[in-house]
């Protein structure tokens, strides 16, 4: 059975709604450094860590490419496969910039995912606490933060 779990409670209601509306198979809500705030559909910590790290890296590469071209940033990124597609998009919130990775199958479409992603991003923006801007992640804290997130997400 697919599960949704969150590190920060304010992300839960918007995420559950988004997953239901878009029929997403997997979703990761993360910071640009790959820290996971919420997830849906992952059964193993190692898969979630890999997806978050790769998603954050893709967005970082895309942002660097945008800079080279004189763009402020690029918007959402979409890859279509035979059985799965991915939608990777930035989501600015008062709590700081976030990235959302959505994996979907043939039971839905990129059009639906994009449509409901817009609502999801707006809901996250509205739900985010305005008085707590996220501290930058320091290399020395990264592993401890990661372990704390994984413990919280997988209840281990």
């Amino acid at each position: 059975m697919s599960t949704t779990s969150v590190v920060e409670a304010w992300t839960e209601a918007p995420l559950v709604h988004y997953v239901g509306q878009a029929s997403a198979r997997l979703v990761v809500v993360m910071t640009p450094s790959g820290q996971v705030l919420a997830q849906h559909g992952f059964a193993r910590a190692v898969d979630l860590m890999a997806a978050a790290a790769l998603g954050a890296a893709i967005m970082a590469s895309s942002a660097a490419l945008a800079q080279q071209l004189g763009e402020r940033s690029f918007g959402a990124l979409f890859h279509a496969g035979v059985h799965h597609g991915i939608h990777l998009a930035p989501c600015p919130t008062p709590r700081g910039a976030l990235i959302v990775l959505t994996v979907f199958g043939r039971e839905t479409s990129i059009g639906l995912v994009e449509l409901f992603y817009e609502e999801f991003a707006a809901a996250l923006k509205q739900a985010a606490p305005v008085d707590q801007v996220r501290e930058p992640v320091l290399a020395k804290d990264f592993e401890a933060d990661l372990n704390r997130s994984l413990t919280s997400l997988f209840r281990r």
Binding site: A80, T108, S109, I110, G111, L112, E114, L115
Partner: protein, 117 residues
């Protein structure tokens, strides 16, 4: 946008009561070309029309009814019309209650058959 696609949208949109028409990629639910009145949420209509067409096609296949040629969904505030076309496209029209569905259907099926030849 190809002239054929645009001409088809012109014809469909000229039918009385039609508030907009669009070509939609059936699998992706994304607009390929559109001619919409102001205030119509094209992106949402495209995504939901493609989803509806997929589900109706699934139901038709499951019941042995064969290929879907036209979908008409009437709601309190208007009507959504969808016709599958070649190259994995759908022609979609959004209309109000005054629409002559028969005429709109005819134009849409003509468009679906002719625009991509």
């Amino acid at each position: 946008m190809s002239d054929g696609l645009q001409r088809a949208l012109d014809r469909v949109s000229r039918v009385r009561g039609v508030r907009g028409s669009m070509w939609v990629a059936a699998e992706d639910g994304i607009m390929v070309a559109q001619l919409l009145m102001e205030g119509v949420r094209g992106k949402a209509v495209a995504a939901l029309a493609a989803s509806l067409a997929r589900k109706v096609s699934g139901a038709a296949a499951a019941t042995g009814a064969g290929r879907v040629r036209f979908v008409q969904m009437e709601a309190a505030g208007g009507t959504l019309l969808v016709a599958p076309a070649a190259q994995d496209l759908l022609i979609v029209a959004l209309a109000d209650s005054r629409v002559n569905v028969g005429l709109a259907r005819l134009e849409m099926i003509r468009a679906a058959e002719a625009a991509l030849v």
